[in-house]
């Protein structure tokens, strides 16, 4: 605490924590937000974490934090750190335990009037079709070889099994296959933890939401979004597989730490050079988890489409259920960026932050190259969600990154104490939001009061130039693990 007094306001929504504020900082910290966000982050100790990340070997430009910053493990949530791939490090903690946790949005040509009448039936089908959290087995029982193929080849392997659509591939980062995946770098234990979890939602803040597009701005039409449209949002990650890979490589890198002579302010920031054996192995395993996470969301998408087909007695293609996009908000990626006028190849860690590339970037699929990358921001349960688009300014300021959601403001225990699950369910239903969950106490933990207002976060991202609003959605039904 107390770093705020060292912070200098550089712009309306840009604050800098200068080098020297904390020992070992190699670059400044930069936090995007207003004074209130900075104050809260300071009370939370998250600013110390921004300064800690600035100590990572090979970090360039700045240790960044998006406006949804809050206290995390080692890295703050909302943190973005880019390291030079030649001399810098990769840190599993900078990606997080839920590797490639992310969000996707599935469109439809249905209007709310059409869906409202059959919402209960649709939810019944969704609830039956999409396995949720702990103790529920996934619908896909894959052999060891099949798991390896998914990890290596990503979503196209799932599509080859008849799950998901070919045309979904271009609406995912890396075309649904993160390069460099090597299942031999994944432990037996990680395999076991991921084994029956392909196509399961998971619990905690993971959810499936039926939403209605409420307001659209420029570019919405180009993205196929219209007011009154029903869309479905999925928030899930790499499940036990990713959690175990992160745990495994934290151990591997801890054991190697003294060999590289790194002094780190927090054990959770453990890292290894990108080019070292430990670094390369981690990245090969991380890629497996990233592919697994995209497959997980793709399988869920497939069952969502089936639920719509069963409810509306029409094919999902006829119902316009194409994928808008799939974003990951916990990942490290090799990207080219300009740093002080020089083009560099960087390992960009995003821990609770979303890639937000502008029109023209070669990484974008053809359909979005003239529009810019869709960024999907889930609200907390019961509040609005957003589709944003990447900007040129974000490329200059934040390595093409923006926020990932609202960010907690109340602890789980406090939320549980303050709000009862049943009462929350009633309250949401009074607002026209149907809730399906197996665990009402888990519901209370994710109550809207426990989160920052996502609309404020999105406005600040826009004010800072990190992304622009395209559409706002309101939830009509929530399914939670």
């Amino acid at each position: 605490m107390g770093l705020l007094r060292n912070a200098r306001q550089k712009d309306k929504y840009v604050w800098e924590i200068p080098v020297g504020t904390q020992e070992g900082m190699r670059v400044p910290g930069v936090v995007f937000g207003d004074r209130e966000i900075l104050q809260k982050a300071d009370e939370d100790n998250a600013l110390v974490q921004v300064a800690n990340v600035a100590c990572l070997p090979g970090i360039v430009k700045a240790s960044l934090a998006m406006p949804d910053i809050h206290w995390g493990y080692g890295f703050p949530i909302g943190g973005v750190a880019a390291t030079d791939v030649e001399e810098g490090v990769v840190s599993p903690g900078g990606v997080g335990y839920d590797i490639s946790c992310g969000v996707r949005l599935i469109k439809s040509s249905l209007s709310w009037e059409e869906v409202e009448k059959r919402l209960e039936e649709l939810l019944d089908h969704l609830e039956r079709g999409v396995p949720k959290g702990l103790g529920t087995k996934g619908r896909l029982q894959l052999s060891r070889k099949e798991m390896e193929d998914l990890m290596r080849k990503g979503v196209k392997e799932l599509v080859a099994k008849g799950i998901g659509w070919e045309e979904d591939l271009e609406c995912m980062e890396e075309g649904g296959c993160y390069p460099g995946a090597d299942p031999s770098k994944v432990s037996e234990r990680a395999f076991q933890r991921g084994r029956d979890q392909t196509g399961t939602l998971g619990s905690g803040n993971h959810f499936l939401e039926v939403q209605v597009v409420e307001e659209t701005g420029p570019l919405a039409e180009e993205m196929g979004l219209f007011e009154g449209q029903v869309v479905v949002m999925v928030h899930s990650g790499s499940r036990g597989l990713g959690h175990q890979i992160c745990s495994d490589y934290i151990e591997v890198m801890n054991a190697a730490l003294s060999r590289y002579g790194f002094k780190l302010p927090d054990r959770q920031l453990v890292c290894a050079p990108v080019k070292s054996r430990e670094g390369r192995d981690y990245l090969a395993a991380m890629a497996c988890a990233a592919n697994f996470a995209m497959c997980n969301r793709e399988a869920i998408t497939h069952w969502i489409r089936e639920a719509f087909e069963a409810t509306f007695r029409a094919g999902a293609r006829k119902l316009g259920m194409g994928l808008l996009y799939d974003v990951s908000h916990n990942l490290a990626k090799v990207e080219r960026h300009l740093v002080d006028g020089k083009e560099m190849t960087l390992m960009v860690h995003r821990k609770g932050a979303t890639r937000a590339f502008p029109a023209g970037r070669p990484e974008l699929p053809e359909r979005y190259r003239a529009v810019g990358q869709p960024v999907i921001i889930p609200g907390d349960m019961g509040s609005h969600s957003y589709v944003l688009v990447g900007t040129k300014e974000a490329m200059e300021m934040s390595f093409g990154s923006t926020c990932h959601g609202a960010g907690r403001t109340m602890s789980r225990k406090a939320a549980k104490k303050k709000i009862r699950g049943e009462e929350l369910k009633r309250r949401l239903e009074a607002r026209g939001i149907k809730v399906r969950t197996d665990h009402l106490s888990g519901l209370a933990e994710e109550a809207p009061e426990a989160y920052k207002d996502v609309t404020e976060i999105v406005k600040i991202c826009e004010g800072a130039g990190l992304s622009r609003r395209v559409a706002r959605m309101r939830p009509v039904a929530v399914l939670k693990g």
């Binding site: 206290w71 493990y73 997080g96 702990l134 905690g204 151990e251 054990r267 665990h439």
Partner: protein, 141 residues
């Protein structure tokens, strides 16, 4: 009858942890495990039908704590097992072995309320403190 576990749930804005105490490292490990399990389901609803053994290795005390909790978590998540209680039968800085009692996990009967992704090294502690041992760990949930 084993002693009532001595632990408290640590609760910060975005995360949750456990601080447990014990007369020695074995008891602190047991209490930290029971604290963690309480975050996943309600151990008081679990019956004892079966017992199992786990073993964990570490490079130092904190890493042993992390490894041990990972083993416990694995039983729950992968083996689908609900643990009622455990006894750490052998412990050194590098190795711990425990016997656990419980039954097959039934999400409804055992009141499953959430998942734990992993124990982390964030602000971790597993050390002697005056005349007792303290085990503190935060979880990614």
């Amino acid at each position: 009858m084993p002693e009532t576990p001595d632990f408290e749930i640590l609760d910060h804005t975005a995360d949750v942890g456990v601080r447990a105490w014990g007369k020695g490292p074995a008891e602190a490990l047991r209490n930290a495990s029971l604290g963690m399990l309480q975050l996943i389901y309600d151990p008081s609803t679990v019956k004892i039908n079966e017992s199992r053994e786990i073993e964990a290795v570490g490079r130092d005390w904190p890493s042993l704590l992390v490894a041990f909790l990972q083993e416990v978590l694995y039983l729950v998540e992968v083996e689908g097992w609900a643990i009622k209680d455990l006894e750490v039968v052998e412990v050194s800085e590098y190795r711990a072995r425990a016997r656990l009692q419980g039954e097959d996990l039934d999400p409804e009967r055992h009141l499953v309320s959430g998942e734990i992704k992993a124990p982390t090294y964030h602000m971790i502690k597993f050390e002697r403190d005056y005349d007792h041992w303290i085990a503190q760990v935060y979880f990614d949930v």
